[in-house]
């Protein structure tokens, strides 16, 4: 008995169990190469291998699996956007989270607890009315609520009656929720790998070989590979990767910072956000209060945090919940976002025939992990961009058909 565990571990033929296989050798050719081993790229690999019978796939990740913006976002899942194409797209995205744990056999801890965005000004209330009506039109649950309902939904919030940031009301989005970001990526990676998808970590794309209007080769730090189709899903590095492929993307980089407190008893069962204060709060399943906000106020291609931005987050959090003043910050971080001029993503075709874009996800990408992966997989498998994605084409900037989601994104997440 005492040696039982050792015997078990050392027995002949014992194979240690791991969800994600170690990085294999890079082969010479793949049907599909996905640049970026974050949530979006892994989801696309999953849907290609499970729904479209394409499993000769290499996912190339410069760093470690899902270590970029998939690991750094603050896990808000919602669909209360402003424009019809966005609401329809994110609505499908949200619905895929509802049975994701079952589908992947992997607990992504989806918690559909509802999101409340506070208004501290008449202008914010007006914009909420528009978003609520657009939401109802598109069949999602979004409604404007008054101050009393705010107090019922979230009794802890400081209403600041008569103060500078008096809560006038809010936008209640009952469909909103949160999920564990790492688990989403790991679940997709595990199930894709089961179908033979190769996940190559620490494999950086360094250039492309382009013949005519096709990508023929990808140069990496581990050798050159030939790809039938290429999907670019490189998060904060999307602008740079596009540039390497000769594709000019309307992307600028801004850091996005967040932090979490020590774990507290569960007290907040909604996602709380304030569009005026550019701050949002959510209590994770571990009890930590995740505090996020808007991006840094100026362009930067860096994951360094800054004190002014953390102070702004803390100030917003303490305005909403002054009783958090003695709570300690446990961790803080920053990610590099790829912001587009209209705060909507760029999905679909590129100027190259076999090169597909899943870019410009800025601060709003996590909630779309599943739907972007699913629909980009469909695009690659069929060679046709689905109707759901066509409004998000790169060409919209040339046609001045922008999808302005600045108000529904910049402060709301």
């Amino acid at each position: 008995m005492p040696m039982e565990l050792l015997k078990y571990g050392l027995r002949r033929g014992h194979r240690p169990y791991g969800d994600i296989p170690a990085t294999p050798d890079l082969r010479k050719r793949y049907d599909v190469v996905i640049i970026g081993g974050g949530g979006h790229g892994l989801a696309a690999a999953y849907y290609l291998s499970h729904y479209h019978g394409i499993s000769d796939i290499a996912v190339l990740e410069k760093g470690y699996l899902a270590g970029g913006n998939t690991a750094r976002n603050t896990t808000t899942i919602r669909s209360n956007y402003l424009t019809l194409p966005s609401i329809e797209f994110y609505r499908e995205g949200l619905s895929l989270f509802e049975n994701m744990s079952q589908e992947l056999g992997f607990n992504v801890m989806f918690s559909q607890r509802g999101q409340l965005t506070l208004a501290h000004s008449d202008a914010a209330m007006r914009s909420f009315r528009l978003r609520a009506e657009m939401g109802k039109h598109a069949g999602i649950r979004a409604e404007v609520v008054d101050a009393r309902t705010v107090q019922t939904l979230c009794p802890h919030v400081n209403m600041d009656f008569g103060g500078q940031h008096e809560v006038l009301g809010g936008l209640w989005h009952a469909d909103g929720g949160t999920a564990r970001h790492d688990a989403v990526a790991w679940g997709y990676a595990k199930r894709a790998a089961e179908k033979g998808v190769e996940i190559h970590q620490r494999t950086e794309v360094t250039g492309f070989g382009i013949t005519g209007s096709r990508v023929t080769e990808l140069h990496t730090n581990r050798g050159t590979i030939v790809a039938g189709q290429v999907l670019q899903a490189a998060g904060g590095m999307n602008g740079r990767i596009g540039e390497m492929a000769g594709i000019r993307l309307p992307i600028r980089n801004f850091p996005l910072q967040a932090m979490v407190t020590q774990p507290l008893k569960p007290f907040m069962d909604i996602l709380l956000s304030s569009s005026n204060l550019h701050t949002y709060l959510v209590q994770s399943s571990r009890g930590e209060i995740v505090i996020g906000g808007g991006t840094d106020p100026y362009q930067l291609i860096s994951t360094r945090s800054s004190l002014p931005q953390k102070e702004a987050l803390a100030t917003g959090a303490l305005q909403l919940m002054p009783f958090l003043h003695n709570v300690k910050i446990l961790r803080q971080w920053a990610g590099i976002t790829d912001i587009t001029p209209d705060f909507s993503p760029i999905m679909g075709a590129s100027p190259l025939q076999n090169y597909w874009l899943d870019a410009g996800w800025g601060t709003w990408g996590f909630k779309a992990t599943a739907v972007a992966g699913k629909r980009m997989a469909e695009t690659i498998a069929t060679g046709r961009v689905p109707d759901l994605l066509t409004p998000f084409a790169l060409a919209r900037f040339e046609r001045f058909e922008l999808l302005n989601e600045m108000g529904a994104t910049a402060a709301g997440h």
Binding site: N253, Q299, P308
Partner: protein, 89 residues
């Protein structure tokens, strides 16, 4: 605390400054360049010339800043060949 040097008021806390976006040459504002001028803002992995404003004194000036290191290389008052700053970068 991060310090920026205002060409008029000297070194001040970065919180006193407002970023107004990249400097564009006046020659960019042509019909042919409209899409680029509107949507393809520069995002170099290196030095960017950009407009800033020292808010308390409303001094608008140009800074050269490294977008990777966030190092502010130099700040100076507007040159006559540059167009006006964007108010909504």
């Amino acid at each position: 605390m991060k310090i920026m040097t205002c060409p008029v008021n000297g070194p001040r806390n970065i919180s006193e400054f407002q970023w107004l976006g990249p400097v564009h040459d006046a020659s960019e504002a042509t019909d042919e360049n409209l899409i680029t001028r509107l949507f393809h803002a520069p995002n170099p992995m290196g030095v960017l010339r950009e407009w800033w404003r020292h808010t308390p004194s409303s001094t608008v000036f140009i800074a050269e800043r490294n977008l990777i290191t966030d190092e502010i290389l130099r700040t100076y008052l507007q040159r006559p060949d540059a167009d006006k700053p964007q108010m909504n970068p």
